[in-house]
Symmetry: C2
Subunit: 119 residues, 2 copies
């Protein structure tokens, strides 16, 4: 959940990034990983299990994400052959990519320009 940064002497800088929409949490590393697992497993249920998260929490997180996003990040179907499932939308895919880009940018900056934290 938390990325390590370049060492500065004996210390190392750690940073955590979120994207909010109107003060409501939209994206964080945990949520992004959940989206990735949904893509991989095809259901909220299986995704939650794969990261030892309760289904309820996973379901609430995707609900919040969908509420914040301009377009749905996932699409769900209830019932049917395998009971239903959830797939990541192309928009959701873009969201993941952009989040990682943002995070990498910040991390790179810290590694490059914040190694003068000597105390």
């Amino acid at each position: 959940m938390v990325k390590k940064q370049k060492k500065t002497g004996d210390y190392n800088i750690r940073v955590r990034v979120w994207v909010d929409k109107k003060n409501k949490p939209f994206l964080g590393l945990g949520r992004v990983i959940l989206l990735e697992k949904i893509k991989k497993h095809g259901s909220i249920n299986a995704a939650a299990k794969s990261i030892k998260m309760s289904y309820r929490q996973a379901w609430q997180l995707v609900k919040e994400m969908n509420e914040c996003a301009k377009q749905p990040v996932i699409e769900k179907t209830i019932g049917g052959a395998n009971g239903g499932g959830t797939v990541l939308t192309a928009y959701g895919e873009a969201v993941i990519k952009n989040f990682y880009t943002l995070q990498s940018k910040i991390q790179s900056f810290i590694e490059k320009d914040c190694n003068d934290f000597i105390i």
Copy 2:
């Protein structure tokens, strides 16, 4: 405890910074504020009350900080005229300053170079 960042469309980027020593948390915004309150009030007790934190937690935090720091960030005295107290060292003062400098640097970078988070 959490700093707001420049808006990028309807979204805003939020970041939280910590400094660790050998994977142990050393500094975060909460701890820095606690140090500032200790400086202001002259005791862990009064500092904790001023930010509605339990004395126990405040005491543990300064203990951890002192354990991580190369030099003590505070100096305590037990007993005496007013029962004792705690003062911030010059080193602790430098620690506060450096933390804020680090945080500002990261925030400025985000405001300047991360406003392309459009999704």
